[in-house]
Symmetry: D2
Subunit: 350 residues, 4 copies
């Protein structure tokens, strides 16, 4: 297995998640990068767009020729705006290759949900049913055989991992869930907007898309599946003055009194096969800095007897566990590699 | 009234809230600074400790001689760690002068609550009953005649202002309140700790004191008074990588369906006499940057029909409306000045 | 003089320097804002573009009608990209009104220098001769009577103020001057570019336009005038991860050995009438934070006997002393007001 | 060679450079961590002090028992305040083991220089002569056989690498060198001080120790050796609001007119065997972000014909190439491993 070589292509390589994919894949022992495509930088060396990879990646950015790319790859990663991965998927699957889509196009069991929240038609409803929601800690077995893996959104990754064990065990009031998430700015991508202009973000925190962010139905779909009944949640994303990281603070009412140790034991059990999830010991709470640069999801647990609520803190690096690291983790699962291959380095501090 | 001169002293002038008091008071048209005391910088010009005030404040920091200071002042501001204002208050009141305490010593109606959460005895229970909780938008009339004003904590200011109109009008389920607050680092003061070390804070967000922060009982006391019944809340403070600002995201279940416009109308009515509270129009949400440097509290309102919750966003500058600006606002009320005197400048952007 | 009312208009009000002008002018005791124009936000309340001014400025942004605006104003401020102020100036001067231009169009004695560095023709060479370079600490008398004041660039303000006394007194080798400047990001304006995208700037420092920044000839023109001979300088601007502030570190070889106290005495003498320049005492060095929010220029002085060089550190708030504060200071001089009117508040810290 | 195992100990493991050593060594294919010592955290798991290494490093911090540690290690890294490595070195060398000292104790050929600038006696002058200044790009051959390697300071690494080719080739006026350096805050370590308090650093840039920083003589020693004559430089360090990174902007007068391409060719030749130094192509200038997380030194070159100066921009990650990465690079050289072993991963962006 160590000598297996997977030929990988990245479509949309010059956004932030694309560049993280390139960085991780370029150091992955079982991967050979076979093609990097981009809309804006065709013909330019990748390292001119991302100088941190000078002397590490010597490929040239290419405009997409899908047939050619699919032909020479075993797996394609798409890091594109929503709506753009559906035609790619059709071609990739037709050729018997596999797809990890970092966008939203294949995340919903019900294409109508996708269409309602994203405002576009789903052009490949047939393929949608063959896609698996790619959160390996929850759907590892399904991912193994999947043709299409729909890599989760960054917020949903932290939110679902944060509360899954409680829902799976039926311990909380399913109507009581509040998810208050704080994200670094890289989640908004490299595209220009006033929202991501340095002086507008720096030294400021604000909420946005309150009650209507597109990651809401994705969270609800997966939490409903875990809970065994349809539920809705309050989800509020916030833009925080930092480049990387998401911290989700999750509140839920406990159905019955539970000690912190009991809750922690359930979490450890639930994630016993999931090396990237670290349940912190009592008294330790996660910070985004402690997961920055790694594929970890750190989880801290507090039971508040006064209010009868459990408060879960879940931290990830939005570009790694929240996007490109998770995509590679999915690829590892799909190709039978140890899940942590190429993702085993700790993060940076400070 | 324009020619009234109030002689003011600041005890604990060299912390961040002390320095903000000095800055605001030094430009206040009706105030003459009569004394600045400090534990660590006795004999040193204030501007050597805070060079931004070079040529603006030429006073020398003094070690505290309480009798002398109280004698020459009309009002004393204490910006001290909890437990240190009680003896000061006794002396100030004995001399018929007035006190604005920026600490926690006089914030609780019930001294036992203070003693339980702060772990110290209340040495002046008699005076405690003569103190008023100094949130002018809620207790303006009581503040006017108060001998002692207990200036609110930074988090409680944003939380209470954020949800007061809903509780006063009995519109929400009192057991459903979740307050998720994000603060800049200056709230932790100028004292050294690993928690406020640059490299530990920068590029990181984390929660702390979840379920046990000392501002919790303060919030609950005031919200219970507004609601007319005893209630508890989930309150989670977060340390955010920025110097100034607090954003509180407040969730509460609506008892009955209400439109966003109806809620906003209630807020505008409730704060009609309160110039510093700005209810933002539909579609606008507050950011801490937009209140930075000002005494404003900006409030954004979202009604989420899917979940039946209202989500309130309340932003303040923690050192101004959350501390020193509010203290001066209280002084203005106590001395019969227009409430915005010395506080009428807008903030800075960006 | 206190009752004088100056009617002021701002052309280009919705950029960062425009917004700072509006903030300062709106609180200026002798100014009435008569018109705010903008290319992009016509018809929109100014506070919707800049919510920090909600309830402070209730004017509506207008598209420019130059004749109408000039008619109703005593002074016009232009905060426009280079090349756009020349036609405005012609109309303003024709009507006998006065102009403070925050751009580069009128900064050069020699229009050819402007044309060479900015790559555009100067359409009003006749007016150019009637414009004064608006650094009040250097050209106060000329500014008083000027029809057009060319407000200096942000970097030149710090550089020229930093070294002027040495050149005026002939103490340094005129060919030895190195100016290494570090700027916050707001100097690049509110326009979108990858250079000012949050994630590209945050946690990074870099130089740009080395040896060819357009502020170079402006610095050289003024330093040559002070030195009495034509000189060139090395000027390197750096983009620093902060919103506001410029620090210029200036190196010059001393012609003869001089003590730090002698140098400081010369500086104090040179700036004796200039309240906004603060010469720091020995052992204190300026930081951008200590001038943030104020119109000060803080100067620190070090004489290095080992190398025979003097090192000058000069710090300003780029949007205030480096742009809009200085523009108002110029207006004050032009209209015979005390120079610090409307600019006398200290900055914020932290 | 691939199977070689080096047993390594880190003395002073819980500072920032110590923690970076632990992170890098823990993933180094030829290293087994044999002991981590610390003054403050004895008995505590290393990951409790640095949670990012939870599940990556399971060692317990120990108080130093030098004999025991030296016995079981092949190489010792000391990450201690100056003055503390001399006794360690004596013991390590006595046992025939090897030392990489990240402090200043063995950086100076002339112990008197050390004593003058650091204000302490050198207790091991005999060993001092057996130590090699550990900048592999300059002294690779000497390092191979060294018993003690004195790992360079962070500023000197960027400054010396930045200008070495020019001095070696005799192209610049040796008395004209100005080094203006900007550092992130982690260079000041994890110890508490007002200087590194979040709110004091954030949104501010300032110079410190102008003309007297202790890295000055270290830079001068190495540059003098390269130039073949004793020289002095102006060196000004600045504290920049970011965690990691140093950018040195270096100015030197060219003896004769040279094109940018000629200069670049000399640099490429000089560093042809040095994989970690990247000479950027024309038009590209380094940023600290592009080297963050890597062992690279990126160099940009500008020749300014107007002033006759060359301006060199050199960027490193101060904790990696400026400290712990370079220490591991030195170890690789000392033990005959490929120089990039364990250091070959690219950095992070953004």
């Amino acid at each position: 297995m160590d000598t297996k070589v997977i030929k990988a292509g990245v479509i949309g390589a010059t956004g932030y998640t694309g560049a993280e994919l390139v960085r991780i894949l370029s150091a992955h022992p079982n991967v050979r990068l076979a093609g990097l495509t981009t809309q804006s930088y065709g013909g330019i060396p990748f390292w001119e767009v991302y100088p941190h990879l000078y002397r590490h990646v010597d490929m040239i950015c290419r405009e997409l020729d899908l047939e050619e790319l699919a032909e020479k790859c075993d797996v394609i990663f798409t890091a594109l705006p929503h709506g753009h991965s559906m035609p790619v998927a059709a071609e990739v699957v037709r050729r018997g290759k596999r797809l990890v889509d970092l966008g939203a196009d294949f995340r919903f069991n019900d294409a109508a949900t996708y269409e309602r929240w994203y405002g576009v038609d789903h052009s490949e409803p047939g393929l949608n049913g063959r896609a698996v929601y790619g959160l390996p800690e929850i759907r590892r077995e399904e991912i193994r055989g999947a043709e299409i893996v729909a890599n989760p959104g960054c917020y949903p990754t932290s939110a679902i991992l944060g509360i899954a064990p409680l829902l799976k065990n039926g311990l909380v009031d399913n109507r009581s869930i509040v998810i208050d998430s704080k994200s670094g700015v890289s989640g908004a991508g490299r595209g220009l907007s006033l929202t991501t202009h340095y002086c507008e973000v720096n030294e400021s925190i604000k909420a946005y898309n309150v009650g209507k962010h597109r990651h809401t139905p994705e969270i609800e779909q997966e939490l409903s599946a875990l809970a065994g009944e349809s539920l809705v949640v309050s989800f509020t994303p916030h833009l925080t003055p930092m480049s990387r990281g998401i911290l989700s603070t999750i509140y839920a009412g406990l159905k019955e009194s539970l000690g912190r140790d009991e809750v922690a034991a359930l979490y450890r059990e639930f994630y016993s096969a999931s090396r990237f999830v670290r349940i912190l010991p009592p008294g330790m709470l996660p910070s985004t800095k402690s997961v920055c640069g790694s594929n970890h999801c750190d989880i801290g647990l507090v039971v508040d007897d006064r209010t009868g609520r459990v408060v879960v803190l879940a931290a990830i690096d939005n570009l790694i566990k929240g996007a490109s690291g998770q995509a590679v983790q999915n690829m590892n699962v799909m190709f039978g590699l140890p899940e942590e291959t190429g993702l085993d380095r700790p993060g940076f501090y400070p």
